[in-house]
Symmetry: C2
Subunit: 229 residues, 2 copies
């Protein structure tokens, strides 16, 4: 096993660039999440750990990790690319779409929920954080590679009925299948375009709060959709 | 109006210490959250803003704020103290208890959910983050002063039936009232003591994920409890 100790090393630079730039390569950290990804059929371009052919020194792992306690296992994967049709075609479940969800922690948390409630995939409409950024991947708790994620525009969704979480909507049950459920940004909710085209679903809450966090709304509606399947 | 510009100023030091130490005084940031707290009947010990008698210079606001865009409104409040009985007595709703939830963002998010779903209060069992830390207060989105929060031990809960979110439980409906619902730490769930005393409620999820985030579990179960009230 080779221990990489220099910041000039090409692998170190490549992992660092993948973490910073979110382009063609993505980084998964932690023994469990790396093992899950590999078990899910993803082939890492390189794995750095004490049980692999290469590893980084403690200092380099610390330099790469954004967390306080680096787990000393890092793998580099090609960025997944899915066709929109692979997300929109399965009609046995619902598609989650995010509209301007800027916080990568919220994007990752909702990816995890979409996996937990067997959604067909996640569509990122304009204005969303990258689902493959380190923070989103961490928030997804290793599920980011278990569900297709695509970028698209509202007009790409035209073949499916659209529902959107919106406090001004009716307290109806979310669809169980063959539909898109849109969640908007925490500050302003879904866009006017979505609001005009979607059936709006409100979640019953006490009048003493104005809104729920977007990930909480997703948890509640996706769980209900799953229970109705 | 007086603009405080020195880091040696006693008010600056007092706000800074309240932010750091989470003892007898707590800090609420942002015009809306400060206004909500005052509307809710809380009397600030001091408000610092361009519309108050005192304010801080831009530099001092930036030094006090943990966020990238300080909102230039800060108020200092006495730390709320509630009697445990005020949380456990109302039987028309449920009590939320957190068991070893260490992340202040999760604690604040669940406080917001408890307010949204009209819970009687939030009990922090041992090992939880402070609900009045700046990060928890931000995650609560201004609801932290709208609901009683107390620290207690499991034995303090003996007068109410205890339910706990646990993947090993049965997929039963959560109680609507006169009960405690416990949520445990993300890593290890609820403690053995809680697990042995509680009725365990599981949330139906796809077998492809192992667990839900604790705030997602709380969103789902508290929403269902509210809907059944």
């Amino acid at each position: 096993m080779k221990t990489i100790t220099s910041r000039q090393n090409a692998w170190f630079k490549r992992v660092r660039d993948a973490l910073r730039e979110h382009r063609d390569e993505i980084v998964i950290e932690g023994p469990k999440f790396v093992a899950d990804a590999i078990a899910g059929g993803w082939k890492p371009m390189a794995v750095f750990s004490s049980e692999s052919q290469m590893t980084f020194s403690r200092e380099l792992f610390a330099a790469l990790s954004e967390t306080k306690s680096p787990q000393n296992v890092i793998a580099l994967f090609e960025r997944p690319r899915f066709a929109l049709s692979s997300v929109l075609s399965p009609r046995s479940s619902v598609v989650v779409a995010l509209d301007g969800v800027q916080d990568p922690g919220n994007v990752g948390t909702i990816v995890r929920l979409a996996a937990a409630f067997d959604c067909a995939g996640v569509v990122l409409l304009p204005g969303c954080a990258d689902a493959y950024s380190p923070k989103a991947i961490r928030a997804s708790a290793g599920t980011v590679l278990s569900i297709p994620i695509v970028e698209a525009t509202v007009s790409d969704l035209k073949d499916l009925p659209i529902y959107a979480a919106d406090a001004r909507g009716a307290t109806i049950d979310p669809p169980a299948r063959a539909a898109v459920i849109v969640f908007g940004s925490e500050g302003s909710g879904v866009s006017d375009e979505i609001r005009s085209r979607a059936k709006l679903i409100a979640i019953r809450t006490s009048p003493r709060v104005e809104s729920l966090n977007v990930a909480a709304s997703a948890a509640i509606l996706l769980s209900r959709s799953y229970d109705a399947r």
